[in-house]
Amino acid sequence: MSDIKITIIDREGEAHLLDAPTDMNMNLMEVCKMHELPVEGTCGGMAMCASCHCYILNKENLLPEKSYEEEDMLDQAFFVEDNSRLGCQIPITKELDGLELKLAPQQS
């Protein structure tokens, strides 16, 4: 087992301390779905729907840079802040142990 702990604050403000595996080629969006948090992952992880839009609350410097596709999608999303990311573009790695994030409001 090589799990890390991640804290995800849902849209009602409730914090969930979750186990996230680092050895299953997973990303943040998939971790949310695995734990049945209300993240749709409509496009399946292609950075094309923003249903996994979240705000990163710490360790932002440890995340991979935004790709062109992610920036492009965030341009079309709403409620975007400086710390906005798409969960599907963030792979779960050991360094992210203790990561905290908040789900962005659901889009129409």
Partner: protein, 353 residues
């Protein structure tokens, strides 16, 4: 009225392959799709992306998969109603159905198959509380007729290709064009970005960056937009305008199908997967990403399988008195409605003297 045997809602890979499976059973198909071209997500969202889990294709681009499917179903002469969304379904006395689209096109068939994927693609609406009040009263998400904006003031919001291209186009028609974008960077074809920059310098486009529209004002119709600069509520500006066009791309919505009386769970239609992928309405099937059942996998290959099973059931429904025996295409070949016939080469017996 368009008449067919199987009416398919959604022209993505699953809907397209249904035409083939139905064709083998000599059933004719017609497809409705809200997008202007067939292929669904494969054509609209990721035509240039590879897919690696189509059996027999180690790698295929989504766009090529659609082209191949179109080629495969050509002998069965499917009809298409494109750029129109299926709106209503009506059940007739003989248990057949009439489906009417957003533009009023009527389709009549004994069997309806919903292969709608994630739903129909619709413009993303900005989360401005009063926006719906001003729809068609100054607010539009799609530009159908640019002439509507002649000599009017227009505010366009967005940072992608369509926001850039329409700003350029309307700069010659409208009295004033403002382009509002959250950031300074625009993502679009380099030509378009440069052209907007040029038009902005000569005052033909008012470029307002690091800003967004947060509210709309007006009595019976739109009179002004409220622009917030740099995310600061203190830096708000009320800008009078005749029209506001937010261009933030498309997102899929289940849409009117959700009101058809089908059993729905988590945005998907429940079907009987133990038998034929029929919904709670007899004669209405749901296949591909739009359906759900225990163990469902949203994969193109699963949609193909569901299409084959579903067509057998549809055949029984249309011809209750007939017994159909499944045939292999390798053995029986493929006979198109266009008179074409494909079949395996026959071995010949000839003695060599």
């Amino acid at each position: 009225m368009i008449k067919t045997d199987i009416l398919i809602i959604g022209a993505g890979p699953t809907g397209l392959f249904t035409v083939f499976e139905a064709g083998l059973l000599k059933l004719k198909c017609h497809l409705i799709d809200a997008l202007p071209q067939p292929g669904g997500q494969c054509s609209e969202i990721y035509p240039k992306k590879p897919i690696y889990d189509i059996p027999g294709f180690p790698e295929v681009l989504a766009g090529d998969l659609v082209n191949n499917l179109m080629e495969q179903i050509k002998p069965f002469e499917p009809g298409f109603t494109l750029g129109e969304r299926a709106e209503t379904i009506e059940r007739l006395e003989d248990d057949s159905f009439v489906v009417t689209t957003s533009r009023g096109t009527k389709h009549h068939a004994p069997v309806v198959v919903i292969a709608g994927g994630l739903g129909s693609f619709e413009p993303r609406k900005p989360p401005i509380p009063s926006i719906e009040k001003f729809e068609d009263k100054g607010v539009a998400y799609i530009i159908r007729d640019p002439e509507v904006y002649r000599d009017k003031s227009v505010v366009i919001a967005g940072g992608g290709d369509s926001a850039l291209d329409w700003s350029i186009y309307l700069a010659d028609i409208a009295k004033e064009v403002s382009l509002i974008h959250r950031r300074k960077d625009f993502r679009g074809a380099l030509d378009s970005v440069e052209k907007v920059e040029e038009l902005s310098k000569i005052g033909k486009i008012k470029l307002i960056t690091e800003a967004e529209v947060v509210d709309l004002k007006g009595e019976d119709k739109l009179e002004a937009v409220v622009i917030r600069h740099k995310g600061e509520a203190v830096e708000e500006e009320v800008k009078p305008t005749d029209s506001f066009i937010p261009l933030f791309g498309l997102s899929p919505k289940l849409g009117p199908i959700a009101d058809w009386g089908l059993e729905i769970e988590k945005n998907a239609i429940k079907v009987n997967n133990a038998y034929d992928y029929q919904t709670n309405i007899p004669g209405v099937y749901a296949i591909g990403d739009v359906n759900t059942y225990p163990g469902k996998l949203k994969l193109i290959l699963c949609g193909f399988h569901e299409a084959a099973i579903m067509c057998q059931s549809a055949y029984q429904r249309i011809y209750p008195e007939k017994r159909y025996v499944m045939k292999y295409t390798t053995v029986s070949g493929v006979s198109g409605f266009d008179g074409s016939k494909k079949e395996a080469k026959k071995e010949v017996v000839k003695s060599i003297n």
